[in-house]
Symmetry: C2
Subunit: 279 residues, 2 copies
């Protein structure tokens, strides 16, 4: 099978490497408007050739859209215009916008809205990993509007990567990821800004920061080009969770101010409940 | 050398196992008022025997106080009362309270206030690790009030564990750890409570939560008995950082509400500055 990857960064690059390693695809065509990324992707063996969007769509069997979500939104109708029997899917962190755009297109049956729940805080082709995705969940949205052959192929593709498939409608997906992914990124960005603002002696951060700090701030290295469009597209859900998060932080603040250490203990014990959910 | 560990949990247990493995101590006496922890520590080979506080102090060369910080505060004068030539040090996450208590005691020269910057979100003897501490920093506070032999021995102990030593006064230590450790824990507890509050379908969290969520929420598994006393003792510094953190989160909220995506991008790019500090 011949795969076209539009956007050869962390996600698209990892998809290409992983699918090639598993033998699911024989050949990968890359599409990217960043010349450095083109060169890097060729050099790293992520893609076999670079083509224009039009040629890539015409010469491939399956097309992955792996750009930032605002660009995916713009490219999707253009790609579907070019498609005949090919299968198109995306990997974006928001699903409602693309699902809606697809549903207005005559070729909607060829498009599978998906979200593989894997990523790192790094970006670009050099961040791509050939053993990505394994043992993680992938969400497939709005199956009812997708052609059966397209759905089966994309499911087989994710199963080949070792992922388990979760079915969910796009609206519900966007609500859930606001809780389990988007708010973590905002917290982490804000925490980094807090520490950078308060702690001018950066040697001290470096010396004293241990594993706990590193893990809560790790996501703050994630890039703006990816995350601003995600927050834009999922604005209402993210705001909803962010308001709740600020009000939860205010409870900690109030406990400290009032020296209500019994309630502080209750808050922490309630938070420990996350053990039931995360191993 | 014979070590007494008062409080055989994650920190004290890891210290005992690691020092034994390195051959720094030949024998470990455990002191703990939790009977289950006594049995577990003996069974796991963390301690060789269990004694009362009084016997343990009398029969050991070096004494580590590894209890929650509110208990350390109470035990320190009792331990110093019993001490002759023995060396005492603590491992607590706050340093000003113990340093002040020690400075009022006649035996202040025998006590070294320390804080090894290592930990996990787990607790109890079963959480102890024999390869803990390695390549991390340890803070030694208020060296000027410590006897030279005590200081040298504690420094040698931490160097044996593969730690590098940072010297800092207790007040400054407590300010810095509010930034690089305590606020991360509050954020994580509050984030767990946010998600538990908003996300009633816990299967969905479990299915969709990927590495990013896990790393920001990991610390929320930490126990209240350890953390409430830390937040109490470091209340002013923690409140200061928490206020800044809430105001940083409000900036993200305002960007989303006003759809000011340029400023949102600036906030994220500023947060990326943490890359300069954390590798």
């Amino acid at each position: 099978m011949r795969l076209a990857v539009i956007g050869i960064g962390l996600m698209g690059g990892s998809l290409a490497l992983s699918l090639k390693k598993k033998g699911f695809v024989s050949n990968v065509i890359g599409v990217d408007n960043n010349l450095d990324h083109q060169t890097e992707a060729l050099r790293l063996g992520i893609v076999d050739e670079i083509m224009t969007l039009e040629d890539a769509v015409k010469l491939s069997d399956i097309i992955a859209i792996a750009t930032p979500v605002n660009i995916a939104e713009k490219l999707l109708p253009l790609v579907l215009d070019l498609v005949d029997k090919q299968i198109v899917f995306d990997l974006g962190s928001t699903k409602e916008a693309v699902a809606q755009i697809a549903s207005a297109h005559a070729k909607k049956g060829r498009f599978v809205p998906t979200h593989p729940m894997w990523g790192t805080e790094f970006s670009g082709p050099s961040a791509a990993q050939s053993d990505a995705f394994e043992n993680k969940a992938t969400v497939i949205c709005n199956r009812e509007q997708v052609d059966e052959d397209a759905l089966l192929t994309v499911e087989r593709l994710y199963k080949t990567l070792g992922m388990h498939i979760v079915t969910m409608n796009a609206t519900k997906h966007d609500i859930h990821v606001a809780y389990v992914s988007h708010i973590s990124h905002i917290t982490s960005f804000a925490l980094a800004n807090t520490v950078l603002e308060k702690e001018k002696e950066s040697d001290n951060i470096f010396e004293l920061a241990s594993g706990g700090f590193d893990s809560t701030v790790r996501l703050a290295k994630s890039n703006a080009a990816t995350w601003v469009p995600i927050f834009m597209q999922n604005k209402e859900n993210v705001l909803d969770v962010l308001n709740e998060h600020i009000s939860q932080l205010r409870k900690f603040k109030s406990c400290l101010e009032k020296e209500n250490f019994e309630y502080l203990s209750d808050l922490i014990e309630n938070a420990n409940g996350i053990k039931r959910i995360l191993k």
